[in-house]
């Protein structure tokens, strides 16, 4: 039968009042309390930053770009979250409408980088070209998005 290695018991655990072995380390604990205090302040800052939109989905993350004649206005998120979907909203002015339709071309660089999972409203027609996709949307008289 294999033997198990043994060693004598030593009083290695610090005592309270020289009688009760507790192993308390108040010096470490004070450092830990200071650390957790700083940690919760940091977490508080993270929450405030999140509410402001520093990590996307908030007032600071929302941005708008438009052409000079306001034919196209794009509302997008300045800060995106990795592996999370986001919404790109495009408003077309009346000058973008031709024969009751809007034709909208999206370059390959955009499609590849961002993908295009869902369009609202659905395009009437989409044509895949060499370096992008052309979408055609039916359009009544009023401006559409």
């Amino acid at each position: 039968m294999p033997s198990i290695e043994t060693k004598p018991v030593e009083d290695t655990i610090s005592k309270v009042n020289d009688e009760l072995a507790v192993g308390s380390d108040l010096q470490f604990q004070h450092k830990w309390w200071r650390f957790t205090h700083a940690l919760w302040i940091f977490f508080g800052c993270v929450i405030v930053a999140d509410l402001l939109g520093c990590f996307g989905r908030g007032p600071l993350a929302n941005a708008t770009a438009q052409t000079n004649d306001r034919t196209i206005q794009v509302k997008y998120e300045r800060i995106e979250r990795y592996a999370a979907p986001s919404i790109l909203r495009i408003d077309f002015g009346p000058t973008a409408i031709h024969e009751g339709k809007i034709q909208f071309w999206v370059g390959e660089s955009v499609i590849k980088a961002l993908g295009a999972q869902r369009f609202i409203p659905q395009p009437e027609k989409s044509v895949v070209g060499q370096d992008g996709i052309s979408y055609t949307f039916p359009c009544p008289d009023s401006p559409r998005r």
């Binding site: 309270v16 009042n17 009760l20 507790v22 192993g23 308390s24 380390d25 108040l26 470490f28 604990q29 830990w32 309390w33 957790t36 940690l39 919760w40 592996a83």
Partner: protein
């Protein structure tokens, strides 16, 4: 690949949060602590698994967490300082019949918590206690005064 990284991050992040929440969630679990544990666990699972809910992905996540746990357990026994970081150290709450106010306040404990532990040792009142120790697992050990 992502699942392993997310599970590793999730494990250490959860460890940090639970440690920073003070020690009560370990042993004296009230409904108040249950809410915290389940809610945080649920949120971490969502981020770890992402869109991939396959058996392969969840198996990899579970194995990763298992490995992390094994590694932390080994480091805890090998390095006492690391053990103190992960589990904390025991803290004296009541010494020679006197409350250790700073410890009680910082650990967010009150006399009711100590008395609850004392009752399990057939101690009828607080004045019968010589020492009360908050253990690393969140339990409170009671040492009675000699009669």
């Amino acid at each position: 690949m992502h699942t392993v990284l997310y599970a590793t991050f999730g494990y250490f992040f959860l460890l940090l949060i639970v440690r920073a929440l003070s020690r009560r969630p370990g042993a004296q679990m009230t409904p108040f602590e249950f809410v915290i544990i389940f809610l945080i666990g649920g949120v971490i699972i969502l981020a770890t698994m992402g869109q991939d809910h396959s058996v392969t992905n969840s198996t990899c996540a579970v194995i990763t967490v298992g490995f992390m746990h094994r590694m932390v357990s080994y480091l805890k026994t090998r390095y006492r300082r690391f053990g103190a970081f992960v589990d904390g150290t025991p803290l004296v709450l009541l010494k020679n019949g006197r409350w250790q106010h700073e410890v009680m306040e910082r650990m967010r404990l009150n006399d009711m918590d100590v008395m609850a532990a004392a009752r399990t040792k057939a101690v009828k009142q607080l004045s019968q206690i010589k020492y009360a120790i908050l253990e690393r697992n969140g339990g409170i050990s009671i040492i009675k005064k000699q009669q």
